[in-house]
Every structure is written in C-alpha cells, then in structure tokens.
Symmetry: D2
Subunit: 354 residues, 4 copies
C-alpha cells in the first residue's frame, strides 16, 4: 500500500467508523491512525463497535484508538477525515488546517463560513476551488465540509431538477433515522413506537445548506440559489436511511416522464472522473408503487465500493403545477462519511492533495 496517509478523527463514533469502513482497501487513501478526543485512548475498535451491518477486517478490529494530538497528526497525515461532534470539531479542525492538513469534515461547525465549501461532488464540484482562497493556512491545509445528512439526500435530485426546470419552491418533510444522532444519540424510551417532530437546528441547516450548495460561485464566494426552501424535520424509529417527502414547483411545467429521465440520467464530475466511491448512477428512480424504503434502498449504489452512495427517488407524481416525490439516502454513508471520502477523492483528482 502506498496511499495518501489519512487520520480518522472520532473513530469511536458512528461516523468515524463509517470512515474506517470506507477506507478499508481504498485505492487512494491509507489509514495512518485512528483518533478520538475522549477516554477511549488505547481502546480497540472491537471494544467500541458502533456500525452493525458491516464486517470489519480483523486487523481493523484490533487497531488501537489514540487521543487526538495535532502535532502528531499533522506530521504523519496529509488528510484528516473528521467525524467529531460539532462541539469539539471546530477548534481541532481549524488547528489541523493551520498545520497543513486537508480536513474533510462531517461536522457542521465550519459549513456556513464564507470561505469554506459545503461540497457534494455531483452538485457543486466547482465550489472546491474555494479552498484555494483559504490562504491563511500554509502547507496545503484547508477545510472542506460535507452537507448535513438530510440536505445531502435531496441535494442531488434538486440539483438535477433545478438545472433542467428551475426550482421555484421546495417543501421537504423528513423521516430521519436514529443513526443520524450519533451514539448513544436518541434514547429508546423516546423513539420506540414514537416520532419526534424536532431535530435541533436541522431545518435551519437544511434550508441554508441547500441554498448555498445550489448557488453559484462568484469571485470565490457563493451566491445563494434563489428559490423557496422549506423544511419540516422529524426523527423516526429506523436505524439507517433518511426518507424525505418533496413537494416542488418549477418555472417550467415538465411531464413526469421528463422529470424521471432527468433524474435517472443525471451524471456529474464524480461519474466522469470515475472516482472510486462514486456511484455509477447517482440517482436511481424506482417505478414501484411503494419505494423508496429505508430497509430496501438505503444501500443502493454500484459498484460495491459505492453501496449506500446512490440516492433513490420514487413515487413521482404531478398534481396541477406541483410535483411530488419521495427521496431516500443513507445518512451515514452518502450523507456522512461517504460524502467526505468522495470530496477527498475529488480533491485528489483536481490536484488539491499534492
């Protein structure tokens, strides 16, 4: 192995372990160290296992997790994948960037900064150029964030539809999985047989991030997109996979079959560049009457390395001038660790990780 050396931050948590999963056998990156900020210093992955549907390599399971040490990481690693909780992510990520590390973060701390891109390679690959402007960081350090998990799931279809038909209004209601809250996250007493109609700051994040990502880059800064974006967010008793209902209007009034083909034929930079974690078809449109479903569609995506990276859209309907659909994506893969890994792959390809 001779890949780019990477650190995984937050390796005891759900997102951190999804990073590890995706980096096992990765063609470009090589895990140099696993880190966490807490009392887990010295614990092995097997002792703090969070991901339940993936079999880690034996070697991974016996790897020790170390305490975060900025000096140590910046000396050994070119890249840091951060699954840190927002509370502590801000300073650590900033320090790493200042020490020359390229940080690909799942945390929300830096997302709305003017000089930091909220990047989804299929949606706004050009926004990656904003890292050039993060010139205060010497030695190639910078911060790239992925979007909030529930924003990611709809950003791909909204991008495809906005390009084709110009969005006027988007109403989204979410059915979000508990893994989105991390571990231990949601108490079983609150969610067994129940729905929680509130996720702290989630609606604000969705609305702001979608508008930012679908905006245009002008002089190194993002000019927000110009449509009405309304979100209602709720937590449901599902392990993985955020389902979201969409009601939309466009400037144009396309046929449903045009909407459908626009979505399923959507391709972007990751597909053209054949990035390792990019799904061949980023948006899968299902014709069945009752899809997408979390249990059936959360892991959509081909090839094998891109499982969980495709967004599934179904139940396309038109009523008067309104368009309705359901979208589903894996919140800790496409909407979490997978998004950041794809961002880093794009950075390699675009020459930002020399």
């Amino acid at each position: 192995m001779n890949g780019i050396k990477v650190a995984v931050l937050g390796a005891t948590g759900m997102i951190g372990q999804r990073f590890i999963q995706l980096l096992e056998g990765h063609p470009l990156f090589e895990i140099e160290g696993l880190f966490a900020s807490e009392r887990s210093d010295g614990k092995r992955v097997s002792e703090v296992l969070k991901v339940k549907d993936y079999q880690f390599d034996r070697e991974t399971l016996s790897t020790e997790i170390c305490q975060i040490d900025i000096e140590d990481i910046s000396e050994r690693c070119r890249v840091a994948f951060s699954g840190l909780p927002a509370g502590i992510a801000k300073d650590i990520e900033q320090s790493l960037a200042e020490q020359g590390v390229a940080v690909f973060s799942n945390a929300s701390s830096h997302r709305m900064r003017e000089d930091v891109p909220v990047l989804i390679p299929e949606v706004n690959p050009d926004h990656l150029d904003m890292v050039v402007a993060q010139s205060t960081y010497p030695g190639g350090g910078y911060i790239v964030t992925n979007a909030n998990c529930s924003a990611t799931g709809i950003a791909l279809p909204l991008k495809a539809l906005d390009d084709a038909f110009e969005l006027e209004m988007v109403c989204v209601s979410t059915y979000q999985a508990v893994s989105g809250a991390g571990y231990p996250g949601v108490s079983s007493l609150d969610i067994l047989g129940n729905i929680l109609p509130h996720i702290k700051s989630e609606e604000e994040k969705m609305e702001a991030e979608i508008i930012k990502m679908l905006g245009t880059l002008e002089n190194g800064r993002v000019r927000s997109a110009n449509f009405d974006m309304l979100a209602n967010c709720a937590r449901v008793p599902v392990a993985d996979g955020h389902l979201e209902s969409l009601t939309m209007t466009f400037k144009g009034e396309p046929e449903i079959k045009e909407v459908s083909s626009t979505l399923s034929e959507f391709r972007s930079d990751p597909q053209r560049l054949r990035l390792p974690t990019a799904p061949l078809q980023p948006i899968i449109v299902r014709e069945e009457i009752d899809r997408p479903q979390p249990l059936l569609d959360a892991h959509a995506g081909e090839p094998e390395r891109a499982r969980g990276m495709a967004v599934t859209v179904g139940r396309l309907r038109k009523k008067d001038r309104y368009y309705k659909a359901f979208a589903l994506s894996h919140n800790t893969l496409r909407g979490g660790a997978g998004g950041s890994v794809l961002n880093a792959e794009l950075a390699v390809e675009k020459g930002h990780l020399r």
Copy 2:
C-alpha cells in the same frame, strides 16, 4: 338505560371496537347489538380483542358478535355505527339506510357522493343538512360519513386558519400509525425499522376530502374550497396517532402568535352544544420544542369521554411568507370511531334522530 338503540358493524375490527369503547356508558346511545360480516358469528369480544389500551367492561367482553342481518338490524336499531371495511361497507350501509337506519360510517365508500356529507362537527356542521336531501330513503334512513383519519387530523386546524387568514396552499406530509390499516393490516416484516412511503388512495382521499369539507353548502350541494392541497403519505412504526407536517401560505400574513391563538381559541358547534364526546378545547397548541408526539399526545382531550378527540398542534414556525407546524390526532378515535359518534351526537341535537 334508555338510550337510542344502536348497532355496531365491524365489531371484530379495530374501528368497531373503538366504537364499543366509546359507547360504553354513553349518555345518548345504547348498544343493541354487535355485528360483523364474517366467520366471527358467535364469537365473544374477548376472543377477537384488537384494542390494547382500554379495559372493556366484563359484560362487553362476553358479548357475542352476530352476523349482519339487514332486517334484524333495521328493526331493532335506529342507528348503525359502521366500522366495516370499504369493500363490503357500500352495499350494507346503503341497504340499512334504505330500511330507515341512520348510518354513521367510518368507511370511504360513500364519502364523495354528492348527497352525502363528509362531516366533522367542528368543521362543517351545516353539511349535516345534506341528509335531508337523501330523500330516497324512507323512515329517517341516511348515511353520514366521517373523514379519512389523516384528513381529520388537519381539518380542524385548517378550518380555523382558513376562516381567519384564508388558505392559499397546504403541503402536508403524514407519519401514519399502523392502526390506520386495520387488523392484521401492515405486516411486521414491512414496518419494523422501516417506513412505507405509500398508502393506497390516501393522498387522493386527503386532498379531495379536505377541499370538500372546507367548502360551502350551496343548495344542498358542496362547493369545494379553493386552495392548493398537496399530500404525501407514509406509514411509520407507531401504534396509534397520526402525525402530520404542514407548510402553508395564506392570503394574509399573520404573526405566529395570532396563528397560535386562532388555533387554541377555536370553538365550534360541538363545544357550544356540549356534545358528550366533544373536547372542551378541540385544538391544543403546545409550546414545547418537541411536541406533538404520538406517545404523549394521541390521547389529548378533556373531559374523560373526549380523550383522543382533541387535535394537538405544535412547532408553529414562520419562514418568509410560509407557515410551518406539526399536527397530531388519534387516528381511530378522533379520526375514526370518535368522529362518527360525534356526528351522531350532532344529529341528535339537530333533530335528525327523532
């Protein structure tokens, strides 16, 4: 006891047994017989128990369920409460009405007929007058339907808001409990840890029934309301209580506190007439950040007899000219049997059950 004699149809099912629950000790009605269309002839209620959160009287539990016999029912009963499945409800309810029985039905079969009201006493009490026009039925027979369970839950707040601020557009997404599908209804293999983004005909029913109920009566026929009504429906792993997200625009642009007080101060005929099953406050507005929730709010409503008859609204928000909220109602009480019992109470009060 000396109440109006009533039959309960579909007494082996979930809605039928909610009827029985609400009729135990009712001040106006007296159960004359329990009926079902199937092979349950002769079975006792205790052997086919569906309702799990209510303790029936011993006498009720040992009551036998008989096969439906139109002649027998029409001779013994002035009223029939129907919890029959839509497939068989149509003909049986029609036959009973023709034999002079006032049928209060939870089935959808007759809802969109021009001469049949979809009645929620707080929303469109005047629509009850449509039964006078069902003149083909002699001897006081007629059919009154309640609304679909998911339409009911939002009809009350939408009525209050439409009266005050004139609705332009309503986007609703539902989080519907499994009891709405009857028994056995949804397979556990489909819903455990999953969401089903499709309920047969539900969106069409919601959109059509809301527009009909909020319409105005002109010459004995309903003129539909005139706003955009869009629904996305999904089933969630919750036992009882339909949660629904709302995004709305109005002709006016009220303050959130006006919206809130309009909802919580809403009163209508059932409250003025002190109908036995009417909640004192039909719409409860919660200020907490994470309400309404099915586990906490499905049984809202006072007094005791009206538990599960109030609609709870929470998370009132305004963004630009859009208004957002979550609403919750008990789908087999307010949205099912309770709705029909309230309809029958209104009919007594308005002189249609002499």
Copy 3:
C-alpha cells in the same frame, strides 16, 4: 390534606416520576418536596417529563425540583422515596436514615445488607421487622428496599408456589423492558430490532434477592431459601413490562389446575390490610393461549390506584415433572416505585411510621 410528609428523591428520572404519579392524591402520604442530585435544580416536572402514559396534575407539572439537602429533607419529611441511581443512592440514603428519615428505596445499594430487608409485602411482610434492628439510626430512621424489578415479577408467584408445593428448581429467562434501564438508558441504536442478552449484574441480583426474600427470618436475620435459582436476562424493545419465562420443579407434583388456583387465590397481608396501593388479586392467571403480553397486561390490577401492581401469569404447562409458565409485571410500578409505596403503606399499618 394531612398526610405523612414525604420527599421524592430522583424526581427527574423514570422511577422518581412513577413515585410522583402514585403519590398524587394518596390517602396516607403527602409530597413535601421533589429532589434530584443534579443540575436540574429549579427545573419544573414538565421540563423533564419521563413518564409518557400518565397525565400528571397541572400543579405537579409546575412543581420545581430542588437539589438534595439532607438537613432540609430530614427536617421536613418523615419519609423519603428514593428513585436515585445506585451510584449516589448509597450515601444519601444512609445519611437520611441516620437523620431519622424512613427511606423506602428502589436502589440496589443496600439490598444485600444483613440488616436491611428486601421487601415485597405480599411475599415477606415479616421481614419489615428487620428495621427495628437498624438501631444505630435514631429518631425512627431506617432503610427498606424493594426488590429488583425482574425479581419482583416472579417473587409473588414463586412465593405462592413454594408455600404450596416446595420449589426445587427455578429457571427464569427475562424479556425486560427498556424503562428498566432508566432514562436515557438504552440507546435506540442498540435495541431497535434487536435483543441485548446482558443486563449488568441483573442475573446475580435476581438469584440472590429471590433466595433472600423467600427465606425465613431467624433472630432478625434472613436464612436463605433452599432451591436452585437460575436466571438468564435480556433486554427487549418494549417500553414497559417485564415478561419472564419460568421452568420449575417442585418436591410435590401438583396438577396444573392446582397450580393455577394456588396462584389466583393467593392473598397476603396487603390484601388483608387493604393497603391503598395493594391489588385486590395480586396474581392474575390468564387462560388465553397467548397471554401475558406487555401491551395488554402491564397495567393489570384493581382498583384504580393499584393499576400496574398485579402480576399476570399465563401459559401454565406441565411436561413430565417440570412446570412451565410466563409471568409479567410492570417494572416501574410493581417492580419499582409501586413496590416502595406499598412497603411504606405496610410500615404505616405496622406502626413503623409513627
């Protein structure tokens, strides 16, 4: 009101709030103050609500929770009901007892002390006399513990059967509800669609406590019962109600109908003394093929005040010389706060709370 003044310790938690529920309108006790050990000082009950299936009085909901102050409590209260976590319960309960407060505790800290009874009034009411021997505490202070929630659920039927047929061996496997782990307790990521075959120290507690409670008092000390007691404990995705399977052998070999009548006819001191929270029939035997079930039977018990205080036994079977059954009890009522309230009622009746 003129009841005995009581403090509720741990009022922010699940057990503490079950205490509050049971003490609303109690004929003997009057809540003097709500206490918790943490940062909840000054919070109102409504802000830290844990119990979801009970409507607290408005006055209760607006009551402030204070920080625990031994002096203050011992001056104002004759009794303390403790729902404190085991970690901090030990010292606080000891200090209160030393200051003359009668502590009725749900914590395990003092259960296996030689001079402290593990008390279930139907099972070992004479063990209450052990408090006389806690003579180091002046002013009427002492500690009485209730049993572990899973031990309580089977202690009643085992007591009835041991008295009648002499137990030789008991194999129990538990299906324990998540509320037994307190709040937030079990992470939804661990229990949604899953079973956890381990609950810390639970099997040891069950085995030791059953043997102690069914033992005999000799010179103020308990001589343990003499049968084989084996427990396997697991957590299941159920909110309330511990289900437990039993396989037993006796010295005798009774008919199943004798076993059944022994259980359903079992009465003890709480019934004879008509204690307010005592169920009229402490063990309910169900003949249906699929009972007891948590959803249907957790709240068994009459009268109203004793709901959740009866144990339900079903599926009595005999194979060769083995007897099999399932038992169910409400883990935070009978197996938690309700057990301690019943203990205190017995203490009043026996003159230990003058």
Copy 4:
C-alpha cells in the same frame, strides 16, 4: 452451468426466496424453475419480493413464478427445495417424492415420520441413510426435512456438548424473529413494542425434534436421546435471528473453558467434506459481555456462501452445577433454506443424488 436441476417451491414466500438467494451461483445446483401454489402464477420475483437484505441478480428478479405442477417438476428437476407452508406441503412433497424427486423441505409436515430424517449435517449426518428405507418411492425420490428454525439454532451446540459431557437437562427460552412466521405473518399491531409469549406448536416441535436429532440410528429408525428437554417460546420485534437462552446440566461437571473450547472446536461432516454452504467454524463462541445479538451475529459464518450458517454462542456461565449460555442463529438461513441446501449438498456427497 451444468448443475443438478432443482425446483424451488414456495418462491413467493420468505423461505422460498432465501432458497433462491442461496442457489444463485451455486456450484452444484441450478434453478430450473420457481413455483408457488397460489395466485402468483406468472408474477416475477421482483413483484413479490420478501427478502430485504440481499440484492438478487437482475435475471432472478425478472424470473416468472409458475404454478406447481407435479408432472412438470418431476420431469425437469432431480431436486425440489420446499418452502411451502405446512398446510399444503404434505401432499405436494409426498407426490413429488413418489415421482422420483428428492425433496428437501423446510416444512414440518413430514418431520416426525418414522422413515423421514430431521437432518442437520453437523448434528446427525448418518440419519440421511434413512432415505434408503423410503423404498416405496421409485426413481430416487425421497423426503428429507430440516429442523424447526428454533430447534436448529441450539441443536449444534447441544450436539457438541452432549458428545463431550452428556446432557441431563436443557431449559431453553426463545426470542424468535418475526421472519420465522413467514409473510405477512405477524401483524405489526401485535408485535410493535410487544412480546408474544406463544408460537403455535413451537415448543412441542423443539422438544421432539431435538430429542430425535440427537438420538441414535438403530436399524434405520431413530432411538430418541435421553435427556430432559424443556422449551418456552416467544416472538420478539426483531426481523431476523432467533436468540435462545440455555440453562443446562450435564452428567459431568466441566470447566467453563472446556465448554467453550468444545463448542468452538466442534467440526463435523460438512466441514470435513467442505460442503459449499458449510461454515468453516459451525459454532462461534463470543467472549464479549453482551453477545450474541441478532443485529450483530445473525449473519455469522465464513466463507461468503456460508454467511448466516454459523451459530453464535456467548455469555457462557456456570452456577453450581448449572451451565448457562445464549445462542443465536439466522432463522431463515441456518434455520431455514440454508439448512435444506446443506442437506442436499450432503446428499450429493453421499451419493444419494445420482
């Protein structure tokens, strides 16, 4: 492909589709046709999908399911894998055997027949010889059954332990997944947040089948094993994976580490013969404090083709002369379709499928 031609019966159901999953790319067998007894004639697999955690080949998904035709099947297929419901399995399987088809059945209909083996290749491979005695069937027809899903899960560890230490008594309590009841199977209204302490005939099957499988073959008939076998069965809200608690006594009194090594070192004919679907290590012993769990361990087993075919045992404990453990197995793979496929592989190897 040039494998033995096989029919899959019950291809619309859960077990039938697990058969299809295991037969995709199988080195010995080739699917010749998919059959079901019902109105699914002509439906494609994609339209009646039941298995949710496996991605079928596109070709499989578009395969049509035909109505069962004994003549047609017996002409085209040497083997039939039956996932038929017990009600109709009996006659169809018998007819196929009479027509010369080797039937490997998951149904219980023929299990307790004197001339039919209940076969688990690791447990009683010699019982396969019983098919020779099924001489009434010409042309190589016979019936081999696999064991009940909950019996299978413990048969492997019990066999290993009985051989080493001689079982005296086994108490088992089950935590059974809903997929064991087929589709639609258990109503969500009955199992969401609930436990059902009864599965029709399950305890009787477990007790009888374990005793039969661990018995010895004498003159072509099974002489039952001679230990006490007691079962309590319950259904839990889990999709896949039966967890079972065990309490056992032996003639000997081994150390826990002997018990552990006896289990983990257990190998049998399938391993020696390297059958394609045999797990390299049939019994995996976990040392962690909280394993096995359905979500983590249901799919245990290597290599890839044997995923879900290993039994996981954990929490080995000794108290006095009693031994306690939890065992887990995948109920529709090891305890269902996988068991029958392994049986057929053994039949090939032993020359019963020429």
